[in-house]
């Protein structure tokens, strides 16, 4: 009774009101607000990386190697005397670029394949599932290393690896949702009118599948950032001297017994970024679509 009553009531509020209240509810949730602030800081840092510090990320200063934080170098310098703060800001750019490209491409491909697998004939579903499961059964980093051995390291390969390994994840989510929708009466109703499968997917499935998928994809940003910095840490990501958090961490690891600052400077922004996106994503998910909580 209670659920029924409240359902009926929330239903009456218009959808624009709902969107505004989602933002205000995000701000009222302390963790959600923290996430929003961290993500905003990251975006500002990445966008204005050129203007926030007086240094270039590639400018060497051999006299000031491995310096501890000071007023002129807020986070110190690395083994080549480059300003760590500058490199961290530029590293954020790389991380966000990789996340934006790989997630959006994987999302689109995953969406299409998932809907095809879920709505298409049984044999197609079985074939696609087999491929998805096979790709998923490679441990991501190990798969990435194998591929990069063949092609040589580059930012493009990092993005490719993330796309290839993310597609099955999104496709499986979309497939599950599509299968659930497929048996719903409104889809039967559309089919009974003779609606083409393309129109059913476009008009009836897409709007119902996209929303939850976007929330899940936003929660994947930390994972992608982690893979990028992990590969860069291994020297398999961006090529030096391009700045990346992983590269800074790798430098820090090499000199860990000399100075702790490089490891700290490379790791803290990575941690703050993943925490920020996670807190924000979780809060948004709880506000917009609490049912998603169930599937991890």
């Amino acid at each position: 009774m209670s659920a029924q009553a409240s359902n009926k009531l929330t239903g009456h509020s218009s959808s624009s009101f709902w969107r505004i209240s989602a933002i205000s509810r995000l701000i009222r949730d302390p963790l959600g607000l923290l996430g929003l602030v961290l993500v905003s800081l990251l975006l500002i840092g990445a966008l204005f990386a050129n203007h926030l510090t007086p240094y270039s990320p590639k400018a060497l200063d051999v006299k000031n190697r491995l310096a501890a934080p000071s007023m002129s170098h807020l986070l110190g310098t690395d083994q080549l005397g480059r300003d760590t703060l500058t490199r961290v800001l530029h590293g954020g750019r790389v991380a966000l670029q990789v996340a934006a490209w790989s997630i959006s491409i994987a999302l689109v491909v995953g969406l299409v394949l998932g809907m095809l697998a879920g709505y298409g004939p049984r044999w197609l579903d079985n074939c696609l599932l087999l491929v998805f499961d096979a790709v998923r059964s490679f441990p991501t980093i190990i798969f990435a290393l194998a591929l990069i051995t063949l092609t040589g390291p580059s930012l493009k390969m990092v993005i490719t690896v993330i796309i290839v390994t993310s597609i099955p994840v999104y496709a499986r989510i979309v497939r599950t949702q599509t299968m659930a929708l497929k048996e719903q009466e409104f889809v039967l109703a559309a089919r009974s009118l003779g609606t083409s499968w393309f129109r059913i997917l476009r008009v009836h499935f897409l709007p119902n599948v996209v929303g939850p998928l976007f929330i899940l994809a936003s929660m994947d940003i930390p994972v992608v950032v982690t893979i990028e910095s992990g590969l860069s840490f291994l020297g398999m990501g961006v090529r030096p001297p391009t700045a990346s958090w992983g590269a800074t961490l790798a430098d820090g690891y090499a000199y860990i017994r000399v100075t702790p600052w490089l490891v700290v400077a490379g790791g803290v922004p990575l941690i703050l970024t993943t925490l920020g996106f996670t807190f924000m994503g979780e809060a948004l998910r709880d506000i917009l679509d609490p049912r998603l909580r169930r599937g991890l």
Binding site: N7, E185, F186, A189, L193, G194, T195, H204, P207
Partner: protein, 326 residues
């Protein structure tokens, strides 16, 4: 003059979920008959009710007639044209002749489309362009008694009764000759189910529509339908005019089903239960007559021989070796 709808010897099979082991142990062939040997006719302006318990195959039969499922055997003729075996493209023109109202009024509407979009859907799918669509939507909404301000609402903003009206409007959109109504009053309170039924009745006299109503609600059927078919394990065990079925049920199952409906009258309390046991799984269809394990009157012949349909009145047939007379 061909019949409006003529179904003959229809058979619908499904693959069982039964695993390899179950097939070995129970000697199952992996297929079950959800609808078996079903034949009937519908005429214009008539209401026919398919009555049965869960697992009787009534919903499957309805979905076969609307073309959502393909029958394995038999024929479905619409005004003389065979629909079984038609490809999607050839089938499509016939779809506008048969509309459907689904069981769950809210779930049968696409969740992120407005009432207007839902009612327009049939026209868009069938590429109606010449007409003035705004007028059509307004006309249909007024026909089913929905105020115009509902045009922009979404399914979750509607009550069960309102959503039901949108469903009726959509089913009516292409001026079908037949509407299949799957449990049209399911989930509605007694005080509002009359509204939906009265609306359907009004539309029938206005547009001379035929209804095929799928239901388990016998008291409602008695008032609203002209003919009744009683289904058990996918077969019609009895069909006839509403009056003959209610006045002189010939099949023991029909009799039991009528007897199981409680009377809202404390003086008519029943001392005995009219029927024991429950509907068996389709996977374990009994030998002989499907109903014999639960039948009070079962005899040796019922255990071995499956009865065919016998005509016992002008429009009254029964599938029983020993029909009850009088």
């Amino acid at each position: 003059m061909p019949e409006l709808l003529e179904v003959e010897k229809l058979r619908m099979q499904f693959r069982t979920e039964a695993g390899f082991g179950a097939r070995l142990l129970n000697h199952e062939d992996g297929w079950i008959d959800a609808v078996l040997d079903v034949s009937f006719k519908m005429t214009t302006g008539q209401t026919m009710a398919l009555v049965g318990e869960s697992g009787s195959g009534k919903t499957t039969l309805g979905r076969a007639i609307i073309g959502l499922l393909r029958p394995q055997e038999g024929s479905i003729k619409f005004q003389g044209t065979e629909l079984v075996g038609l490809g999607d493209r050839d089938y499509k023109p016939y779809r506008r002749n048969i509309g459907m109202m689904f069981q769950d009024p809210v779930a049968s509407l696409s969740p992120r489309r407005s009432v207007r979009a839902q009612i327009l859907e049939p026209f868009q799918v069938h590429k109606y362009k010449e007409q003035n669509m705004d007028m059509e939507v307004k006309r249909l909404m007024s026909v089913v008694g929905l105020p115009e301000r509902f045009e922009g609402r979404f399914p979750h903003e509607l009550s069960g009764g309102q959503a039901r009206r949108v469903g009726v409007a959509r089913a009516l959109a292409l001026s079908p000759k037949i509407i299949i109504a799957d449990e049209p009053t399911a989930g509605l309170d007694v005080s509002v189910q009359g509204e939906v039924l009265n609306l359907m009745r009004g539309l029938q006299s206005q547009f001379s529509i035929s209804y095929l109503v799928i239901t388990h609600n016998l008291p409602v059927v008695r008032h609203t339908s002209d003919r009744i078919a009683i289904m058990y394990l996918g077969k019609f065990v009895e069909q006839g005019s509403t009056q003959s079925i209610f006045d002189s049920p010939a099949h023991p199952y029909t009799q039991a089903l009528l007897g199981a409906v409680p009377k809202p009258d404390p003086k008519q309390r029943r001392k005995i239960v009219s029927i024991e046991g429950e509907v068996p799984s389709l996977r374990l269809r009994p030998d002989g007559c499907d109903f014999h394990p639960r039948c009070k009157y079962a005899q040796a012949r019922c255990r071995s021989e499956s009865p065919g349909e016998t005509k016992i009145g002008s429009e009254h047939t029964v599938r029983c070796h020993f029909p009850i007379s009088g």
